[in-house]
Amino acid sequence: MEVFQLLVSGVSQGCVYGLIALGFVLIYKATEMVNFAQGDLMMVGAFMAVTFVNVLGMPFLSGVLAALVAMAVIGVVLERLLLRPMIGEPHFAVLMLTIGLGFVLRAIAGAIWGSNPRPLETPYSGRVLEIGELVIGFESIAIVGGTLLLCGLLFGFFRFTRLGIAMQAASQNQLAAYYVGIPVKRIYSLVWALSAVIATCAGILTAPVSLVDPLMGFIGIKAFAAAIVGGFGSLPGAIIGGLVVGLAEQFAGLYLPPGFADMSAYVILLVMLVLRPQGLFATMHRKKV
């Protein structure tokens, strides 16, 4: 029974890692930039939801919607102001920029919302589902359900909509995308908006469990490990990678000496980089510029 309980919490935590990893992968595939502020975008998104729901007293769903819209706008603004001037600069410079952006976001969040952890008030907080001896929090169900829903939506978006296919096209062959008249720069802005929205979903889903504070974005590093495990170029791989890291963490906590739980994500990261650096779901992807 204990194993099953761990499975549930591992999967729900893994979904959160997976969603953040999804943001990493989306931005990387489209623009070849690694956004190390992805976890901090999640944090800001969670604070947005806290502001709209707890502070302004909006109903839960409309508060969430408002947070998603606000974060989409922030994503576009960040891309437009900070990242677009960096096109053509070395990867290293972009990397430093996004790391710096993370620091700035944490500092701003601390100044606005303070550093005390706050819960996000949800209609389902604290309720549990009991199946026999098994106790599952509604928060976990919401995380898994929300992730599945989001993945379904994203799949439909990329597979069937004109804009989604254009995003794929721009990431597969930037020059050809320009030549057929796809406004590649605007597509990049939209990719950032989408990444920020996904990060916000992760933040809102995890907020009732892990509380919201300016440092919650540090789990972005574990999500980065998840993205590496998944191959850093594959969207389903990001979610699977998240699940691997989440489950490993839970089971390391049970079967290994204390301390291993927090380390496990990095151990997996190192093992993956040594044994299979292309990740579990390597796509035969050679990018043309």
């Binding site: 254009a166 096209a169 030549y179």
Partner: protein, 254 residues
Amino acid sequence: MALLELRNVETNYGPIQAVRGVSMQIEAGRIVTLLGGNGAGKTTVLKTISGAMDPSRGVVTFAGESIEGRDPDRIARLGIAHVPEGREVFPFLTVEENLRMGAFSRRDRGIDADLAMVYGYFPVLTELARRQAAYLSGGQQQMLAIGRALMLRPRLMLLDEPSLGLSPRLVQEIGTIVTRLNSEQGVTVLLVEQNARMALAIADYGYVMENGRIVMEDTCARLMQATDIQAFYLGQKEAGVRGVRRWKQRKTWR
């Protein structure tokens, strides 16, 4: 008035000047070819027209509007379709998705009809519609790239070495298609080619480029008669001149 006009266009790659003052005029409804050896600057001229590169000097006018320095997607929306060298398809999209992306900038209702029209020109693509573009052969990818450009309903098509790496039969087929597109769809074509024989056969007018400059221009009928074109691009040897000597001969334009 010419559909496309270049006046004294200069384009640089960093400190290297690849195009050194090129002027061209392309009348609507024509097929014009741009010939020249490797590194002559032909591709750079095309990139400058389609906006992938910005000229450091000079003017590019399309239908009376100066377009130099604009982003390539905006130039594409004006009706200039660039088919770049090397079959730049979207490898992980299906053939049909590739073609539909060609019409990305269009909002009209004629897209499905144009799709049928493209399949009519390239019947082989019909069977491959659901296949990922990466799995197509080189010739099929070239046809896909031309078909995708056609979906833009272009007024001007820039074709960069469509015959590169294709078998002689396919080269001929591509040549026929280009002529048909020109006469049936009224697409003006600027064709860059190393295969001068094919290019001169289908084009009306030709420019010859060397070291970033236009060194010769004339109707294709007359270009084909010019001795140095015969020697350098069509590979014909004159009787009595040994191969080594041929390279030492002065070209008329020097």
